[in-house]
Symmetry: C2
Subunit: 233 residues, 2 copies
């Protein structure tokens, strides 16, 4: 949340370009939450025990709760939530298809590393929107302390079999690569979203140096998450 | 909720047989909710559009919310919720394996008919437990008006292609048959649950005539649900 520009007031919604950008942003996050729900529910099916299954199902339900609030907000600003989500379906589904976890542990690492990366990115972009939208986005990214569960399970698995650590470290690097590839594609295709970062008459822009610092922050946070899991980044 | 016996007071929990029966009952419903969550989340993946997907994911999250309250209650009465659920894992999973929906519509019918039947049964059994437990069970069975969504989608599909009605009617009959088979197996294996219906010193029993009337009610309600979907029972 560095380089936070001045906050556009409610008047910003009268700017069609700004409205389109916010709808795009909320649509992307909403589809991401829905897609996280589906993925976590699938992972729950792979859980080794009922308590782990319940923990994953709880994470899935939390993501769905976030989705509901984003959907309401899209309706509030006069957008069709499903139309807003639609452009993000293909790139998100492609990411998930290319990173289908082979087992329970890969699913956990993906949930933790993938959601963390997405959350970091959205938090950065949220600095460019009005206060109400920003607050909703920040709330949607709250993981309710559920990542503690993942860290515990992954570290425990590495203690039991240290070879697991090498395999999961490679997996984490692949996730980061695939996520950046898809994010670049989305940025290239969604003009409204990119325009948000490029600024407007009454909104400050993010210059190339700032974008480069953003990527540095994303990469650093990814490394910290890998370390938290006991994996080399 | 006919033939409601007198409500056992909190003192009932001092009776180990009664406590065991309540733990069995809550464990069964809790596993059923968890399993409904998983099934609905799987069905969401088959949804033809994002709005349908969201509707199914919403149903799944509601079931998970019920699960959480049942889990808390099991902990309150001093039971390990996962140990209480464990005996029901095999029969529920067997039911789901034998009735895996081939498509989106079969999934919807299963959600509606299966959950309706389970809810009827638990509501009947709830008449035999203390007021607090009963209230929790009744709350857990509330579908928050979500069945309206299923009725709408199934009726619409039959209007579009009337052959769908014949196929789904057969499917509904099969679901009922498989559910009764599994329920009988559970009743035969879980002495504590059966003892609840058989009564105790301070609790009235359900005699054979009452059990026969119960089955008549379950069958009648099933027929009403099939009718609501526009299917012959």
């Amino acid at each position: 949340m560095t380089e936070s520009p001045s906050t556009p007031g409610p008047v910003a919604f009268e700017d069609p370009a700004y409205l389109a950008a916010v709808v795009d942003l909320l649509g992307a996050i909403a589809y991401g939450e829905m897609s996280a729900f589906e993925r976590l529910a699938e992972d729950a099916a792979m859980a080794p025990g009922l308590d782990d299954k319940a923990a994953l199902a709880r994470m899935a339900s939390t993501e769905f709760g976030h989705f509901e609030r984003l959907r309401e907000r899209l309706e509030q600003v006069g957008a069709d939530p499903f139309a807003a989500m639609q452009p993000f379906q293909q790139p998100f589904d492609a990411f998930h298809a290319r990173t289908a976890p082979a087992d329970w542990l890969e699913g956990l690492v993906k949930a933790y590393v993938g959601d963390g990366l997405a959350a970091d990115f959205y938090r950065e972009v949220a600095a460019f929107v009005d206060a109400d939208t920003r607050e909703l986005i920040i709330e949607s990214l709250d993981d309710s302390g559920q990542s503690g569960f993942v860290v515990d399970r992954v570290r425990r698995a590495i203690v039991e079999d240290h070879r697991v650590g090498g395999r999961l470290a490679l997996w984490g690097r692949r996730l980061m690569g695939e996520a950046l590839t898809q994010a670049q594609q989305v940025a290239a295709e969604r003009d409204a979203l990119s325009a948000l970062l490029a600024g407007g008459v009454d909104r400050p822009a993010m210059d190339l140096a700032a974008i480069s610092r953003l990527f540095t922050r994303l990469t650093e946070n990814h490394s910290k998450r890998m370390e938290a899991l006991g994996l080399s980044a």
